[in-house]
């Protein structure tokens, strides 16, 4: 179901490492934007989960980052860029259960090694690039059926 919109609807959020209080704001706003446009609930759910996990990754691991979303008539694209430590072994990081999160993050119930796999699972297209010492960029696309 393509949406009846001519222009791309965009949103942009600054994420600050360690700021757990704002976690979920970007995903919550994207969720409401999609709901207002009448997007299918299953699609909204996938976009919200993928976006929330992406927010958490920046907050847990990076110094700062940006999350931007672009809603067009046939899909939503979510792009996250961070100034973080970067990921040494992306293949390993994509494995369910693998995590480098410190203990205090795990005690909060994060850092179970499910974030990146959850993001990939909920996306139709998933791209990740990372340079150690520079940062990580993730781009996720969810198509509207």
């Amino acid at each position: 179901m393509a949406l009846d919109i001519n222009e791309t609807i965009e949103g942009s959020f600054q994420l600050v490492g360690g700021n757990f209080a704002n976690a979920g704001e970007a995903s919550s706003q994207l969720k409401h934007a999609l709901a207002e446009l009448g997007v299918d609930e299953g699609i909204i759910r996938r976009a919200a989960i993928a976006t929330f996990e992406a927010e958490m990754n920046v907050i847990i691991y990076a110094a700062a980052g940006w999350l931007r979303y672009y809603i067009s008539s046939d899909r939503v694209r979510i792009r996250i860029e961070d100034m973080g430590p970067g990921i040494e072994d992306i293949e390993l990081a994509m494995q369910e259960g693998y995590s480098t999160a410190p203990d205090w993050v795990r005690e909060m119930g994060w850092g179970a090694g499910m974030g990146l796999p959850n993001m990939k699972k909920n996306s139709d297209e998933f791209k990740i690039d990372s340079v150690v010492g520079e940062g990580t960029t993730v781009e996720m696309t969810i198509n509207f059926p």
Binding site: S28, G109, M114, G115, N118
Partner: protein, 110 residues
Amino acid sequence: MKLENIVDELSLDVKTCMEGLGNEVTGVYVSDLLSDVMANSKDGNIWITLQIHLNIVAVAGLKNLAGIIIVGSRQLQEETLKKAEAEKVTIMTTPLQAFEAAGRLYQLFK
């Protein structure tokens, strides 16, 4: 089943968002891993956890959960309570541990 029936049945202490007591409950999910709850809980579920920090509110909101039950009489952080009121997420507490709370709810839903 409505959330208020469950509150009565388990004598839960409602800490935030009384207006959520009319929510229809579709089932229960038990986990302390937030990514797991995001991945596997369903719309309208009650979530049983011992986590008390404010990210539980965002998870419950995003997943349209019917409410959160905090087990073991854990005291919620003030910022969690405030956020839950603002985001209209019903949080309840119980002295029961997760096993017993889940077991009682299982009896109600089976």
